[in-house]
């Protein structure tokens, strides 16, 4: 860059006397910049020579609070910038309100202006320093070199935030894995895990018989004990595999010759974390649990530790589905919430958790229906429909009931006569579900509503009117009725009905466009103060994660799914299908799935916190209560929602 009098003189003079790392051949300040870069995406994934290229060509500039950094009046963008300290605010002038509004905020480690740089145009947004700010920049030639040579860098520039989200997500997963070590659930003493009686044998038992015993009991290990019930060895399926692979002469040799002697053991009072650490260190999948006298009490396997929640789930589902009375079902709701807690503590994915809640809710609904049928069967074949979030299998603990009945009219009866029989039954089911914690629907979208207790022909009519005479009111209902699922009774009638609905929607471009317009009503809460746009002026610091965060995803994706004949109601499944059909780019679909799941995860964690404090559940959060990583995740997720809505706008020219 610099011109010097002497052609041989290097721009940067470096001579180092130490050679501990390859980096040490670089000047201290270059290394320091590389260290800074490594903490942030996409640099964290870039190779050292590329980082060095960045650092060596970087320029550090200071901007005081409020100073312009880049302006739409400027030339084609020639520099790639990274915030080193402070913040950059994107500002657009709103002609309507005659004032500048913040459209985004870029903080430490973030890059700008990607779109303008890639598009080789001036920026469209005024970039202004928010607070005293230092930025690193590289010029166009250095940028082009990196863009050409570093794949992570190129990918990042082209995809912007979506690949950042990938990385944030990877980090969450690794934190979740790490937090398994510290989460409270692993503080559980082992005695609570190893409740099953261990499968044991004497040292003289032939291997084949020991294996038979393992097989009978469906376990992966057998503990060899002496007369005092003290473990002397352990034999696992892995040992068996090795034995056979090594070409054992006979499987009738006594097990003591092939067992692992002196097995790992822990006291019953040790906790799950100790066991996990022991397994991780020694690469064992099984640990013997003994009492103070070294007598075997049980065996804990790796699977026991890490899929405890699944065991609970199966157990809980079974208890619900066999409950003999309503009061039992009501009391079990508490266990559902506790299960969710455990799963979240284990770092479970929010998609899994909502599905599990939905599964348990389904089991509960079915059981309520079964108990009522036992007491008082109206004698009409029907399918119990569920709409909205339950239809999408996206329920959290805070849930309304949205349901309906699709009945088969018996010969010789009119539809009204059927309704006369079914409505009282439905009323009772709705009431009992309310007692189980499924709040009665304020909009009366319930099976006990005569308008939603219909025959197949009536439903078909209903949907036809719904689609062909779209009124604003209909559109509000679209988020409920177009996400439906059968949870009790025959599936086939709904399948037939929904095929017709899909065909009608696919053919009706106007309805699609109106749906799309409706889906754009709820904007992701980004803009003002610190990039988050709050719910309203009274609640200065409140975001509604459901309506402002999730709804933009759910509603936009619904439009695409219905327009493309996708039957699935679940948002994540719809995204998968849309990617499969090439409606969405694979990577976009991935980014949207993640963003949606991340918002959902933050929402569920907030629910669990509220429950723990005995506070009523809401979908409201104050982002300031979140840790910085979650805040950033939320912000990036909302940006993804904006991208998705832009795609919808484009598709329907809105």
């Amino acid at each position: 860059m610099r011109q010097h009098k002497h052609p041989l003189l290097p721009g940067t003079m470096v001579l180092f006397m130490t050679a501990d790392t390859p980096d040490s051949t670089l000047p201290q300040n270059t290394r320091a910049i590389m260290t800074f870069l490594r903490e942030h995406a996409p640099f964290s994934n870039m190779d050292d020579p590329h980082l060095a290229h960045f650092a060596e060509n970087a320029k550090l500039t200071f901007f005081s609070d409020g100073e312009e950094v880049l302006s739409p009046d400027g030339d084609v963008v020639k520099h790639f910038w990274v915030v080193k300290q402070g913040r950059i605010r994107g500002e657009r002038f709103n002609e309507k309100d005659n004032r500048a509004e913040t459209t985004f905020e870029i903080s430490k480690g973030e890059c700008f202006p990607l779109a303008a740089l890639i598009g080789e145009r001036p920026t469209r947004t005024l970039h202004r320093a928010a607070g005293d700010t230092f930025c690193l920049s590289i010029d166009h030639p250095a940028f082009v070199t990196l863009f050409a040579e570093s794949e992570p860098f190129r990918d990042f520039c082209l995809r912007g935030v979506s690949s950042l989200l990938d990385q944030v997500n990877q980090r969450i997963q690794s934190t979740a894995m790490a937090s398994i070590g510290s989460s409270s659930s692993l503080d559980t003493p082992l005695e609570r895990y190893a409740l099953r009686a261990p499968i044991i044998c004497t040292p003289d038992l032939p291997v084949n018989e020991a294996v038979a015993r393992m097989h009978e009991n469906n376990v992966g290990s057998i503990v060899v004990t002496d007369d005092q019930q003290q473990p002397t060895g352990i034999f696992t399926l892995r040992d068996l595999r090795m034995l056979i692979a090594e070409g054992a002469d006979s499987l009738s040799t006594p097990i003591r010759h092939v067992m692992t002697p002196e097995p790992c053991r822990l006291l019953a009072s040790d906790d799950a974390f100790d066991a996990a650490m022991l397994m991780a260190e020694r690469h064992f999948a099984h640990v013997c649990v003994v009492d103070d006298n070294n007598r075997l009490i049980g065996v804990v396997s790796e699977r026991d530790l890490f899929s405890l929640q699944r065991v609970d789930l199966v157990h809980l589902a079974r208890t619900i589905s066999t409950a003999s009375q309503l009061s039992t079902l009501i009391s079990l709701r508490h266990d559902v919430s506790r299960l969710v807690d455990t799963m979240l503590a284990h770092g479970a994915d929010s998609g899994q958790v909502v599905k599990i809640i939905t599964t348990l809710n389904d089991v509960t609904v079915r059981r309520v229906l079964e108990l009522n049928l036992k007491q008082n069967d109206p004698g009409i074949p029907f399918t119990w429909l569920t709409f909205g979030s339950e239809g999408r299998q996206e329920q959290t603990l805070l849930t309304d009931q949205d349901n309906g009945i699709l009945f088969d009219t018996p010969d010789g009866m009119t539809e009204d006569q059927v309704r006369e029989k079914l409505l009282p039954f439905a009323r009772k089911v709705n009431d009992e579900l309310a007692q189980c914690g499924f709040t009665l629907c304020k909009g009366n979208i319930m099976a006990s509503n005569p308008k939603l207790c219909l025959s197949e022909a009536e439903w078909d009519d209903w949907f036809q009117r719904f689609i062909e005479a779209s009124t604003p009111q209909n559109l509000v209902y679209s988020s409920i009725f177009l996400d439906m699922r059968a949870i009790f009774g025959p599936d086939e009638p709904l399948r037939r009905l929904f095929s017709k609905v899909l065909t009608r929607i696919e053919k009706n471009a106007l309805f699609q466009k109106m749906l799309a317009g409706n889906a754009l009503q709820r904007k992701p809460p980004l803009t003002l103060f610190r990039t988050f746009r709050y719910l309203n002026d009274d609640n200065k610091k409140v975001l509604d994660l459901k309506r402002q965060g999730l709804a933009p995803f759910v509603e936009s994706i619904r439009v695409f799914a219905l327009a493309n004949g996708i039957r699935a109601a679940n948002t994540l499944e719809r995204l998968d299908e849309l990617a499969k059909k090439n409606v969405f780019d694979q990577k976009d679909a991935g980014a949207w799935k993640e963003s949606y799941s991340l918002i959902q995860a933050i929402r569920m964690r907030a629910h669990q916190d509220l429950l723990a404090n005995d506070e009523p559940l809401t979908n409201y959060i104050d982002p300031d209560d979140l840790n910085p990583l979650d805040r950033r995740i939320l912000r990036e997720s909302f940006r993804q929602a904006q991208r998705l809505q832009q795609k919808l706008e484009l598709a329907y020219q809105l």
Partner: protein, 234 residues
């Protein structure tokens, strides 16, 4: 960049100095050059002690400010000698054995390159008097060089432009804490030069707004600041 160093070293090995002693850049004076277009050197020395008459310079770190930015491709980061290190370790890097390179020559060469690299531009440093004395003494002793550069003290620059700021003390750390700057490695000449340069950027940003436009303006402002300090003392 590194290949340049190698080239320089290979020249040295062959016994040719790449610097023409007689044609070193002439130090500039603080005239009407505009601040935003001048190149400023921000420098920090690492020494064996605080005695400017006896102690030795160990390391020189410097960055250049130009057009309101620190350019990482225009920096100087040189460790002159490490008495605690065996010279044999260095062979790995620069390929020069102890027999080919006595330490005195190395220092001489390094200083010549520093002068060449500085290009006679004004030098800023934190507590500049200290660095000035050390550097001038070393230049004189090693090269017989006696021309003086324009020096400015960043320790004076900061209170001059931020009279209302209240750092917890008068040191580099206090000012960098005040602006929440991070020092990558404390008491590393280049890292200290960097943080000093960052403070300078902040001060120059304010200077632009307060009608301090030229090197001359800046040096007058500093002189005024010194007088103010003296008056305060009495």
């Amino acid at each position: 960049m590194f290949s340049n160093v190698k080239r320089w070293l290979s020249l040295k090995r062959n016994g040719h100095s790449s610097i023409d002693m007689d044609n070193l850049p002439t130090p500039k004076t603080a005239g009407d050059q505009s601040l935003s277009n001048s190149r400023l050197i921000v420098l920090d020395l690492e020494t064996t002690g605080l005695n400017t008459a006896k102690d030795e310079v160990i390391a020189i770190g410097a960055v250049a400010i130009e057009k309101g930015a620190i350019h990482l491709d225009d920096q100087f980061d040189l460790i002159l000698r490490r008495p605690e290190l065996d010279i044999r370790e260095t062979v790995l890097i620069h390929g020069i054995g102890p027999e080919a390179l006595t330490q005195g020559q190395e220092t001489k060469e390094a200083l010549l390159h520093l002068l060449e690299w500085m290009n006679g531009d004004p030098i800023l440093a934190y507590h500049a008097e200290f660095d000035k004395r050390f550097l001038e003494r070393t230049l004189k002793a090693q090269l017989g060089y006696t021309r003086s550069h324009v020096w400015m003290d960043v320790a004076e620059l900061m209170p001059a432009f931020f009279p209302k700021a209240e750092p917890k003390g008068r040191g580099l750390d206090h000012w960098s804490d005040l602006f929440r700057l991070e020092v990558s490695e404390r008491h590393h000449a280049a890292a200290d030069a960097m943080v000093t340069a960052e403070l300078t950027l902040i001060a120059l940003n304010t200077a632009q707004k307060s009608n301090v436009k030229t090197l001359k303006d800046l040096s007058q402002k500093l002189r005024y600041q010194r007088r103010l300090q003296k008056m305060k003392r009495f």
